[in-house]
């Protein structure tokens, strides 16, 4: 309850500071916020767009959150997301019956995400390499690898600016508007993470390892195994975030600048912080983030330049993410000492 009140307080603060920014530049903040809301939630079509936009954020949010629960600062979701997207897309080259095709694409994409998380775990647990360093580097390797594949190997034979589109039998069916049944994948994954972390022994071990690795070790828990599990699960979630951009969102392809995959991996960090690293909180955080993103165009029509929209969005997100970020910094201090045990 206290956390909900805290979240609402920072939300109001963020909105007020955002309003101040707009007012300082001589724009009417309240009509801008009203158009943001109507642009994102004003009718069924807009709501569907917002939901569709939020799904990937749920998954990358989970990636970061499960890492934090294990005492890790895993920022590798971006690379795993890109790789998951390109692997899912490449499955479009296979000939498989509809439906099965989708399942196969998701399975392979999830495996690819896991494979990209494996070196992070291996480097951390055998050589003590900080996961922040290894994930940043792997993100870039994935970025350039995927860019190469998209431009050189998978591009549309007629259009240069995107890849081929995946066959209809491999797509998530449409529910309504922009929203597809990828919704179920995102919700089910969030529910699974919640069940796993709070109702399964392995999940308990992850949380114990994150809270106090020494105590966990003393209790006979393998901190190494717990961290590896968290990284691999996170890899799957991030890869699926990329996969559903290709399999569950128009135009069912990857643009040559990778821009339709966006910064899902990094935005997921903010979403996880807003959602207090709890799977159910992340659902709310992702929807909030999706609302900000989808309402932007309507705000633009109120004469707010795009850069100012970015600033206002950024301000609100920073406020929303601050409480959890500060809590993590405080928590990590004793954890840092205890890291020796993990090695």
């Amino acid at each position: 309850m206290k956390r909900v009140a805290e979240t609402l307080t920072v939300l109001v603060l963020g909105i007020l500071v955002g309003a101040l920014v707009m007012a300082l530049w001589g724009r009417d903040p309240w009509s801008s916020y009203a158009s943001l809301l109507s642009g994102a939630l004003g009718n069924t079509r807009a709501l569907m767009s917002t939901l569709s936009r939020s799904l990937g954020l749920v998954l990358t949010g989970l990636t970061f959150a499960v890492g934090v629960r294990a005492g890790l600062f895993n920022i590798g979701a971006q690379g795993q997301m890109l790789l998951g997207a390109v692997v899912a897309l490449s499955c479009g080259l296979l000939r498989l019956p509809p439906g099965l095709h989708l399942v196969a694409a998701l399975a392979l994409s999830g495996l690819a995400g896991m494979a990209w998380a494996l070196p992070v775990a291996a480097l951390k647990l055998t050589r003590g390499v900080n996961e922040v360093i290894s994930t940043i580097m792997l993100n870039w390797v994935a970025h350039w690898l995927v860019l190469y594949l998209v431009i050189q190997k998978l591009s549309d034979p007629i259009l240069g600016q995107r890849t081929f589109t995946v066959p209809p039998g491999m797509r998530f069916p449409v529910i309504r508007g922009e929203l597809t049944w990828a919704l179920v994948l995102a919700l089910a994954t969030a529910l699974f993470f919640w069940w796993f972390l709070w109702h399964h022994a392995k999940g308990y071990e992850i949380r114990a390892a994150g809270l106090n690795p020494r105590a966990a070790t003393a209790a006979g828990i393998s901190v190494k195994k717990a961290m590896t599990t968290a990284l691999l699960l996170g890899g799957v979630a991030a890869a699926w975030a990329g996969a559903i951009q290709v399999l569950g969102r128009f135009p069912y392809a990857i643009t040559s600048d990778l821009a339709n995959l966006g910064n899902l991996g990094f935005d997921g960090i903010a979403v996880a912080l807003i959602g207090r690293n709890h799977p159910l909180g992340i659902l709310a955080g992702a929807f909030f983030f999706g609302t900000l993103a989808t309402g932007a165009a309507k705000m633009g029509l109120r004469g707010i330049p795009i850069d100012m929209i970015y600033i206002v969005q950024g301000v609100i997100v920073v406020f929303m993410a601050a409480p959890e970020a500060l809590r993590l910094v405080r928590l990590r201090r004793p954890a840092a000492k205890a890291k020796e045990v993990a090695r």
Partner: protein, 381 residues
């Protein structure tokens, strides 16, 4: 309350209670402020708004992830006579929105109409502007004894391919023209580097520096914001050699960009986005069904920057508060001095080429698909 009211307003508008009386420009990336493609679109829309008594609204996509939902929201409002999508990246989302909202008129700057009755495709013969730059670049290169001319390109998309195809054709035409008129032998290679982005000046600079090192001291920029870096590279190389005026020379695209590095930008391949947007509004106000409008040199849609163009864009830059390297008069003087620094026959050849192009004597190669551009690259190396 305000939220409620605005919902109500949206509802009323979608019921058609209020008539559509606005123009909407929807930019795919970056938006106005580029002093080129996007600002020209805005210029054309402003002129149309004034001429036809309409209001003008514009907005920029915050991310390609939002293209479809943004366009849907705009169409739903029913406020717009026409929604003009500016930028090739809207290639998937714009026709999809036009299919979803058959009562809303759309126009696509840089793209076709997809046989949709409610969409106007606005295409340019970019080959023409590219070819004119190619003629000038190659003749200047020959005069300076360079082995090659270069281009810094953005993404591999049809409008850029068409520029490239024209540039290659123009350069080869110029070599033949030179041989025929002087009886001397010449050979020019065309080197084109694709940076892969339209908003990466640092990447454009690196690409241009490599081209200059390879002997291509005439470089066409066909990469939007990216080729601003090519301008920097040309100026730096020129100044390092102790020159106030090129070589090396860069060439701008779309807008008349000479004022950005006066003395080191010899000309620009024009693409009149303003003319296209103006035509789109005119079309939307009439009863004509969707079609493709192809603008070329005959329609005043393409060309090589003229004196008037240069003055117009210096004006625009002054109004936008762009930091010029001197007073507008000094800038203009330096731009003209650069044009006078190259042999006179360059302009003579350019005039001949334009004449033949308008008369239909010269046919430029088509390059709207990957296969076609591959063929052009082979034919005009």
């Amino acid at each position: 309350m305000r939220v409620f009211l605005s919902f109500l307003l949206v509802g009323l508008l979608s019921l058609g209670v209020l008539a559509a009386d606005k123009i909407c420009l929807y930019f795919d990336q970056t938006g106005p402020g580029d002093l080129s493609f996007n600002d020209m679109a805005l210029l054309g829309a402003q002129k149309a708004a004034a001429d036809f008594g309409l209001e003008l609204f514009y907005t920029t996509a915050s991310s390609p992830m939002g293209f479809l939902s943004d366009l849907s929201g705009l169409a739903e409002s029913g406020e717009y006579v026409v929604i003009v999508g500016v930028g090739f990246l809207l290639f998937d989302a714009l026709p999809e929105a036009a299919r979803l909202y058959p009562d809303q008129k759309f126009a696509f700057v840089d793209g076709p109409n997809f046989d949709l009755p409610n969409m106007l495709g606005l295409l340019f013969r970019e080959q023409e502007g590219g070819a004119l730059a190619g003629v000038v670049a190659a003749l200047v290169a020959i005069a300076n004894g360079d082995p090659a001319v270069g281009a810094v390109a953005g993404m591999e998309i049809p409008p850029v391919w068409r520029y490239e195809a024209g540039y290659r054709f123009g350069a080869h035409w110029a070599v033949d023209w030179y041989k025929a008129h002087t009886g001397k032998d010449a050979d020019i290679k065309v080197m084109v580097t694709y940076v892969g982005r339209f908003d990466d000046p640092a990447g454009g600079k690196v690409a241009a520096e490599a081209l200059i090192r390879a002997g291509a001291r005439n470089i066409l920029g066909i990469a939007g914001g990216t080729h601003l870096g090519a301008f920097d590279a040309a100026e730096e190389a020129g100044r390092a050699a102790g020159r106030e005026i090129g070589p090396p020379f860069a060439y701008g695209a779309d807008a008349a960009q000479e004022y950005i590095k006066p003395g080191f930008i010899l000309g620009s391949a024009r693409k009149r986005v303003d003319v296209a947007v103006y035509e789109a509004v005119k079309w939307a106000l009439g009863d004509e069904p969707g079609k493709n409008l192809v603008l070329g040199i005959k329609e005043n849609g393409t060309g090589f920057s003229t004196y008037e163009d240069i003055v117009t864009f210096i004006d625009l830059a002054v109004k936008a508060g762009y930091p010029l390297a001197g007073s507008p008069d000094e800038i203009l003087e330096k731009i003209l001095a650069a044009r006078q620094s190259v042999p006179y026959y360059v302009w003579q050849a350019l005039g001949e080429f334009i004449g033949q192009l308008k008369a239909g004597v010269i046919q430029l190669p088509e390059a709207s698909t990957a296969d076609q551009i591959a063929e052009v690259r082979e034919m005009y190396p």
